[in-house]
């Protein structure tokens, strides 16, 4: 990206503030009294599964949907009741929505012409140079590849120097390699142009690579918000713990508590969690540890302060994924754990059926803020295979009763 051409686009973005936003569609509440502030100049990602309300939030900000209740402020100005074309906001649509009857250049100049900005053609060329597509200015959108269309869509939005740029899963249609490349380019452009970016995605990796701040959304609410590392290290809810990577979660009562750590009784085994990494310090609580922090041992380890041990258990599944190997370990009385082991040697360390112990540094555990009663004891398995098995079990039970 030529930094020379970005100079004239360098404008500071504006704050976005959502106050008590609620959106109901007939029969469904998509967003329930959402409060959110995005500081100017930041790259903010809304992350969540499909149907969590993240796209609706983005459309509300763009003005493409009307909020049922609440206010939207951009740069301190209330825009709640304004139409999309009156808002200083531009969107990079998931489908790109490049006008098929116009050339690339006319697409990019469209917004400038509407606002009667001087010299729209020169500015459009400049924006196209920023995304390195100026040589295709006279083509039609249909003659461009997906990645090129995505960059044109970005140029078309950015050329207007909006106070706020909305990105609606703009990389979803690209293949993995192109997506990685575009992620880096988007991040570079955002840094150079200095606009406020609001990026909606269901891809946790994308959100974590690009955004300064990630908000994880679920069922119309923000579950947790923060820097990517913070969210990953200290998930506050079971949903975040499992949507952002995988987690081994346990529940149990707090049995003892010191100034530094609390001890939780998990199926009769004491598990230690640092006090600062736990949200609740008494009563029944949920705790967890990331699979890559867990070590697999083939013999019972000697008890050691500052390490949690579970076992013995049995390896029920081994799956190799290149960089690491994933093991499933069934520990009687506790349940199944996931363990990621770096592939430092050839082949798996243990095989299915082997007797193993699992252990982790007590400093790596975390305690959730959830009501333990609300969440399943262990990570819910939502793979199609397990759903099929559950259905079959349910069906068989039904048949037996009949």
């Amino acid at each position: 990206m030529a930094s020379l051409s970005t100079a004239s686009f360098a404008e500071k973005g504006a704050d976005l503030e959502l106050v008590g936003i609620t959106k109901r569609f007939p029969g469904v509440t998509a967003i329930e009294s959402l409060d959110l502030t995005i500081p100017a100049g930041s790259f903010f990602a809304l992350l969540g599964p499909s149907g969590c309300g993240k796209t609706t939030t983005l459309r509300l900000v763009a003005g493409l949907e009307e909020a049922t209740a609440g206010r939207i402020l951009i740069g301190g100005k209330d825009v709640t009741s304004t139409k999309p074309f009156q808002r200083p906001v531009n969107t990079v649509f998931q489908s790109y929505a490049l006008f098929p009857h116009m050339t690339i250049l006319e697409n990019v100049a469209f917004g400038l012409r509407r606002r009667k900005i001087g010299d729209p053609v020169a500015k459009a060329h400049e924006a196209l140079r920023l995304v390195e597509l100026d040589h295709l200015a006279s083509r039609r959108p249909a003659q461009l590849s997906g990645g090129q269309q995505q960059r044109v869509a970005l140029a078309r939005a950015i050329v207007n120097r909006p106070a706020l740029l909305l990105l609606d899963e703009p990389l979803g249609a690209l293949d993995l390699k192109l997506r990685r490349q575009m992620q880096l380019e988007l991040k570079t452009i955002q840094t150079e142009v200095g606009l406020t970016f609001l990026h909606v995605t269901h891809d946790q990796e994308e959100a974590m690579t690009m955004a300064d701040t990630v908000a994880v959304m679920n069922k119309g609410r923000i579950e947790q918000m923060g820097a990517p590392e913070e969210l990953y290290e200290l998930p506050r809810t079971a949903f975040v713990a499992n949507f952002l990577g995988q987690s081994n979660l346990f529940t149990g009562p707090v049995t003892s508590s010191t100034a530094d750590a609390i001890t939780v009784d998990v199926g009769g085994v004491p598990i230690v969690v640092p006090r600062t990494r736990a949200k609740r310090h008494a009563g029944e609580i949920a705790i967890g540890v990331r699979p890559e922090k867990v070590t697999l041992l083939t013999s019972a380890p000697a008890p050691q302060a500052g390490r949690n041990v579970l076992g013995p258990g049995r390896v029920t599944d081994v799956s190799f994924s290149g960089v690491s190997t994933q093991y499933l370990v069934m520990v009687p009385g506790i349940g199944e754990l996931v363990v990621f082991a770096q592939n430092m040697v050839f082949g798996p360390v243990v095989h299915v059926g082997a007797e193993v112990w699992v252990s982790w540094n007590a400093d790596h555990g975390f305690g959730l803020d959830d009501e333990p009663g609300d969440l399943p004891r262990f990570a819910p398995d939502a793979s199609t295979e397990s759903i099929a098995i559950q259905r079959r079990v349910a069906l068989e039970e039904e048949l037996e009763q009949a």
Binding site: E11, T82, R161
Partner: protein, 289 residues
């Protein structure tokens, strides 16, 4: 910050919403449905008129309202030549539809599936009948029959109607052929073998909705055609020609009866087809969902 206009400045200027805009938008929100409803009602006025006047207790002229009666519905064929003209229209419509649908479907398949010489000339030959005013089509055929000394009658009407229906059949069926996935036929060739089996078991059933639509369109075009018929019918009357001739002296209410009956029948067919299609789509969606 090298830009000439500070962004904030023009944001203030150009993003100020006018307080009126909101109200105007809301008015537009109900304006369009109201307009559409009124426009559709407007389209129905002559139909309603025709229907109502089929119950008019009129004499020979069916102009002023004389009182309600069912008589005209019961004495349809008492009007000299009316039922015969109607029968001719049905006969011509059916034969022309069968001929045009068969010929047009074959062309449509060839156009989509095969490469051949004179492709653009053939496309032009198919397009031209649709771009030619009916009066020219009618006069042309009449001039030809005149030159050849052909006696005008039912046969010449059928020949004429088949001609102008073919292009419409081609357009309708072609769209259907073009939307067919050739992989289905390839799979069929894999499974059943002979080309004729593939055609009758796979291609034809898949094309059937398109062919049916084309046939209905042909029949409607033929049944309602007056201009071309007028040039090529000689002394034979069809239903529209009967109306045209009667219009000079006044239309008997029995004409309204036949038109209303045909209208009701057509509407029933269309509504049943649409409702069953919607129901099928819903059922399918439920099964998949």
């Amino acid at each position: 910050m090298t830009s000439a206009v500070p962004a904030k400045a023009f944001e203030q200027a150009s993003f100020e919403p006018s307080p009126r805009a909101g109200r105007r938008m809301r008015l537009r929100g109900i304006g369009l449905p109201i307009y559409t409803t009124l426009a559709l009602l407007f389209l129905l006025i002559p139909i309603a008129y025709t229907f109502v006047f089929s119950f008019n207790d009129s004499g020979k002229l069916n102009i002023a309202w004389q009182g309600f009666t069912f008589d005209k519905w019961l004495t349809v064929c008492n009007t000299q030549g009316l039922c015969e003209a109607f029968g001719n229209s049905i006969l011509v419509g059916v034969i022309a539809t069968v001929l045009a649908t068969a010929l047009g479907t074959l062309i449509a398949i060839a156009l989509v599936r095969y490469r051949f010489r004179f492709r653009s000339s053939i496309s032009l030959l198919l397009f031209l009948p649709m771009a030619t005013p009916e009066v020219v089509l009618g006069a042309g055929l009449a001039a030809q029959f005149l030159t050849l000394g052909t006696e005008k009658g039912l046969l010449t009407i059928i020949l004429a109607h088949t001609m102008f229906c073919i292009s419409f059949v081609v357009v309708t069926v072609k769209a259907r052929v073009a939307s067919l996935d050739p992989a289905l036929e390839e799979a069929g060739r894999d499974l059943c073998g002979s080309p004729s089996q593939v055609f009758w078991r796979i291609t034809f059933p898949l094309l059937l909705p398109g062919i049916a639509a084309a046939a209905l369109l042909s029949f409607a075009l033929s049944f309602d055609d007056f201009i071309i018929t007028n040039f090529n019918s000689g002394s034979v009357d069809t239903f529209p020609k009967f109306i045209y001739i009667a219009a000079a002296r006044g239309i008997p209410a029995q004409v309204n009866v036949i038109a209303s009956a045909v209208f009701l029948l057509a509407i029933v067919i269309v509504v049943v087809a649409q409702v069953s299609r919607t129901a099928r789509a819903k059922r399918l969606a439920r099964q998949l969902g």
